[in-house]
Symmetry: C2
Amino acid sequence: MAKRSASRLTIADVAAAAQVSTMTVSRVLNDQPGVAPETRARVARVIAESGFVRNRAARALKHRHTGVVDLVVPKLDSAHILEIMRGVEDMLAPTPLRLAVSATHREERGERQWLAKVADGGTDGAILVLARGQSAQLDELRRRRIPFVVVDHRGELAADTPSVGATNWSGACQATDYLLSLGHRRLAFIGGPPSFGCSRERQSGYRAALDAAQIPTEQALIREGDFSQEAGYAAARALLALPAPPTAIVAGNDMQALGVYAALRERGLSAPDDMSVVGFDDIPFAALAGPPLTTVRQPLAEMGRVAAEMLLTLIDGAPLASPRIELATALIVRASCAAPRAAPPAGASASAAAGVGVEGS
Amino acid sequence: MAKRSASRLTIADVAAAAQVSTMTVSRVLNDQPGVAPETRARVARVIAESGFVRNRAARALKHRHTGVVDLVVPKLDSAHILEIMRGVEDMLAPTPLRLAVSATHREERGERQWLAKVADGGTDGAILVLARGQSAQLDELRRRRIPFVVVDHRGELAADTPSVGATNWSGACQATDYLLSLGHRRLAFIGGPPSFGCSRERQSGYRAALDAAQIPTEQALIREGDFSQEAGYAAARALLALPAPPTAIVAGNDMQALGVYAALRERGLSAPDDMSVVGFDDIPFAALAGPPLTTVRQPLAEMGRVAAEMLLTLIDGAPLASPRIELATALIVRASCAAPRAAPPAGASASAAAGVGVEGS
DNA sequence: CTGAAAGCGCTTACAG
DNA sequence: CTGAAAGCGCTTACAG
């Protein structure tokens, strides 16, 4: 077979070697009918022996699609993101689609860079983690008719935007209820950035649980962080310095809960003896922390999987059953909560709280 | 301008609207000279207003490249992988290349799936994390003349294979020296999978340090894990059950070190009072563990960045200054090590150990 | 400075 | 069952 110098083999080379037309080779390549068994076998053999690789660009040129799908995240820095990515990859692995990952970093620059790549006609669709509801990014995607799905979001999201989230409200509500059931009455909340939809929902769940228990919310007990360990630490320090500190803290996410641990340690205190702490996310380290952290599990990988599934549907041009999907959270009880020190006799036991799963021994 | 139904705009549409040939549009698109300023301005305006997107596939077809680069990892499940990915993404973001991420999972299936996508002509080059030296994957890549760089590796790697690693040997050696300097004489080692190059190097570094101190290595003190928290836990339990347990453990990686913590906790023991523990990696959680973990930092993001840089060089067809690059590790002293309980008077102080960085207060 | 022609490697109708 | 022709959207020489 005549290989043209160093250049790659083409379908024409294979056709020549197998003594058929390029058409026939194409049919064999695509498992299409209309080829005599012997011919097919001969062509298949030549393909295998020659190590021929069909040119993806030429195919894409005909098909009008690129074969790549984007996952766009703010930063590649948290276990949280990795979990979502895992779900997306899982779903996409068996398909012929490639998963292109990019981080927008400081929004401006990164978003523009990403948009430039997409503008080059580089994607069949995108999954956007923590995208802002009103953004040039989303507008551009809509304008270009590139299908996309948002996983969690910032700002407000139009109701018809395909999106995936977790039941943040009820998760936070359940966590707060659990602490109430242990006898706590002074419950603090350290939320995430208020621009995040999930932050607002969690705070609202916390408030709702207190309202239902007829406990007035106290502004001094509600703090705001950026979901980092440092933010949790700073907020917890401030709470501990209060004239009447809380006896329990709902931490908004696990990293902030770990920051609370640090602040406690610094004062020679610890959970759950001196303070009950609940996280949100259930990142892998939650179970390894000392003490193992009671937290609200978000099915992150599953959220990624569902988002990928929705995107595949949109790419196929099919309608979505529902534009918005919220997956259920679950309270995972470990060892960071207990009845408050000088608690009223705990009438309601922990296990009396609805839907509580206890992990481990 | 005549948009052809729902289909996307082509360069011909732009040319018609601007009343020039497609050639001229192409020149404007590619910032090539040879276009009158006014013509260029007019064409540019039409491009901007129409929202024209140049077809990447058609471009790639001419250029003979795909514009995508692969990052292939065993699994998307560790902070370790995320760090490497971050470095790679960082390096690639300003280039026009897309970063396609895939996991090989249980090797067989995943590798074949990945190979099938690559076989489709889908990549300009690849960064392979923990690839096996002798594998169908690497052979195929070589055969196809697709440039690649290996980050860490399993099995043996041919000397001329472009690869990036860390100074595992000297990192483990330094960690062991540090424990020796604290007065420890019974030092255990919980290694990773022996098939991993980095595992073998770390174990060898541990042995070398003991040899240099003229302490005979004891087979019972050398254990093998799979780099998981569970493996560290199991190995530490076994070590604690020994008639003469060690007073310090070099844990091979941070996850195993956290497993050691769990085993200690289970027995009512803790680091560093009852046992000194050193990790390897410095994953973000190492600093947050209780007690904060003394560990050997691997510059993972930097390794990713360097690998990406090497790959870009190879894709450009330029020669590599060196096929193998090892980045320096650094011992990060936190709070998980101390002199052994009934130690000989510690003549050598910790800070006497060479190149030791102490973090925090 | 500008453009008509050919071609990248494949696939989609359409004939035989 | 098999193939000659045209075309996907761009770019690369080559003329003017």
